[in-house]
Structures are given as structure tokens and as C-alpha cells.
């Protein structure tokens, strides 16, 4: 089904934001907006270009003292305002293979429930991120929960 095949890891992150979903949705396709919040860790600047149409691409270069300039890019797979956005996500940590991010925006009485699913990242991406985190049981729990 996905780019990296059945059984690749699937990550789901949720967040409720007290802003109507059309505004939350729009923030994902606006380069000035993205440049403000696509700055992980000690990243000082993010340079963003977007071509927000299905088949169009985006490019985000995150720059900071620790990792230098890290480029992330991809292509829009689905743009269905204000409820669904899907794009490929490619970078050095994904070994420049396409991974897929899908974001659902659910209406919650003037607020937004955002559900982000990131799937298909290659296994080797793990090895670049050895930080001593070793919660084995959690993955097993998640795998079992997904099965249910």
C-alpha cells in the first residue's frame, strides 16, 4: 500500500488546536507560515518554498548550528481543504526515499483535532537516531493496538 511496503513503521500524532480548521489547514500550505514553525530543535531558520497543488512540490531547508542545512522536500498527493492534506516527505534521514505524511483536520466546535500519520519510513533511518531510547514494550503495545 505505501511506498516502503507493508509492515513499515506507522507513526500517529494527534493534537487539538483551539483555532478553526480552515486556518490550521491553510498554515500547512503557506510558505511564510511554515517558515515560522518548521524549525525543530536549535534550528534557527527555515527556508520554505511551496507549490500547493496536487503534483506540486515543496522544499523546506532547516538550518541550525548542530546539523547544518537539512533539506526536506516532497510532492502533494492530496489537497482537500479544510479536512485532508497528504504529501510525500523526503530527506537525508529517510535516505531520500519517499515517505508519506497524511494529515486529517477534524472540526471540534470551532477548534481542530489534527491527526498526523507518517508512514513508510525506511528501517535504516532508525540507525541515525540512536539516542538511547529503548522502550521496547511500547512498540509492541502499539503494534497490538493497531491490530485491534
Amino acid at each position: 500500500m505505501n511506498a516502503a511496503g507493508e509492515g513499515a513503521p506507522v507513526l500517529v500524532v494527534r493534537r487539538r488546536i483551539a483555532v478553526p480548521r480552515d486556518q490550521v489547514f491553510a498554515a500547512w500550505l503557506d510558505s511564510e507560515s511554515l517558515a515560522q514553525w518548521m524549525r525543530p530543535g536549535d534550528c534557527t531558520t527555515a527556508t520554505v518554498t511551496v507549490d500547493p497543488r496536487v503534483g506540486g512540490g515543496f522544499r523546506i531547508v532547516m538550518d541550525g548550528p548542530t546539523h547544518g542545512a537539512v533539506e526536506h522536500y516532497g510532492e502533494y498527493l492530496a489537497i482537500e481543504p479544510p479536512s485532508l492534506l497528504s504529501f510525500t516527505w523526503i530527506s537525508q534521514p529517510t535516505e531520500h526515499r519517499a515517505t508519506i505524511v497524511t494529515i486529517e483536520f477534524e472540526e471540534r466546535g470551532g477548534a481542530t483535532e489534527l491527526v498526523l500519520t507518517h508512514r513508510g519510513l525506511p528501517a535504516k533511518a532508525v540507525e541515525g537516531h540512536r539516542k538511547g531510547w529503548t522502550d521496547v514494550v511500547r512498540l509492541l503495545d502499539e503494534a497490538l493496538t493497531r491490530a485491534g
Binding site: G5, P9, I17, V19, Q23, W37, P40, H129, V136, A147
Partner: protein, 114 residues
């Protein structure tokens, strides 16, 4: 190796076998009694788990004891944790950005009000 791990985890019966082995060692026969599939079927699933390094087999005479080896899961879980942290933080920053904008504040590090 991790592709084998993810492949092994993709099947619900194999996840259930892992969950059973997480409670303690078992042999193929006792596993087969717990699942509505044949001994042969269980044996095939166990082989997939062994190839992925998730299950180890100790042979005591005629008895084959199976044991969970959680080590391969560790790398998989580190990947998930890395990106969970990344997206959690990005969504937090998105929320801050949107709330600031709503209050008429200016986004940090942009000299212009919006």
C-alpha cells in the same frame, strides 16, 4: 534486518504470538493450542519471527522452547520516538503560531506584523 522486523510485525497472528511469548517461554505445540490455526501454520509464523530475530529457539532434546527476543524492536522503537518528538514539537509550534496570529501578535523572528 529491520525490514524483516517490520514485515514480521505486519501480521496480527505473529503479533499475538509475540504477545504470548512476552508472558513467558512456550513451545510450538502449546502456541498452536492457543491459536485457531494448524501446527504447521504456527510453525511458519514462528519461522518468520525467527528470521527477524524476534524469537529464539532453544532445543532441549525433543522439545523446542521459544523465547521472545525484544532487541530488534529497540531500533524500530527509536525510529518512532525520533519522529514522534519531531512532529509533536512541530505541531506545538504550529499551535503557538496560530494562537499568536489570532491574538494579533506578530510571529517571532518575523519583523512584520500580520
Amino acid at each position: 534486518m529491520l525490514d524483516l522486523v517490520y514485515g514480521a510485525l505486519a501480521d496480527p497472528t505473529r503479533r499475538a504470538i509475540l504477545a504470548t511469548l512476552a508472558e513467558g517461554e512456550a513451545n510450538v505445540g502449546s502456541l498452536a493450542e492457543r491459536f485457531p490455526i494448524s501446527l504447521n501454520g504456527v510453525s511458519k509464523h514462528v519461522k518468520v519471527l525467527e528470521r527477524a530475530g524476534l524469537v529464539e529457539r532453544a532445543v532441549h532434546g525433543r522439545e523446542h522452547r521459544l523465547r521472545l527476543n525484544p532487541e530488534p524492536l529497540r531500533e524500530a522503537s527509536m525510529w518512532l520516538e525520533h519522529y514522534r518528538t519531531f512532529w509533536d514539537a512541530r505541531l506545538g509550534a504550529l499551535e503557538t503560531f496560530l494562537l499568536d496570529k489570532r491574538r494579533g501578535g506578530r510571529p517571532p523572528s518575523s519583523g512584520r506584523g500580520r
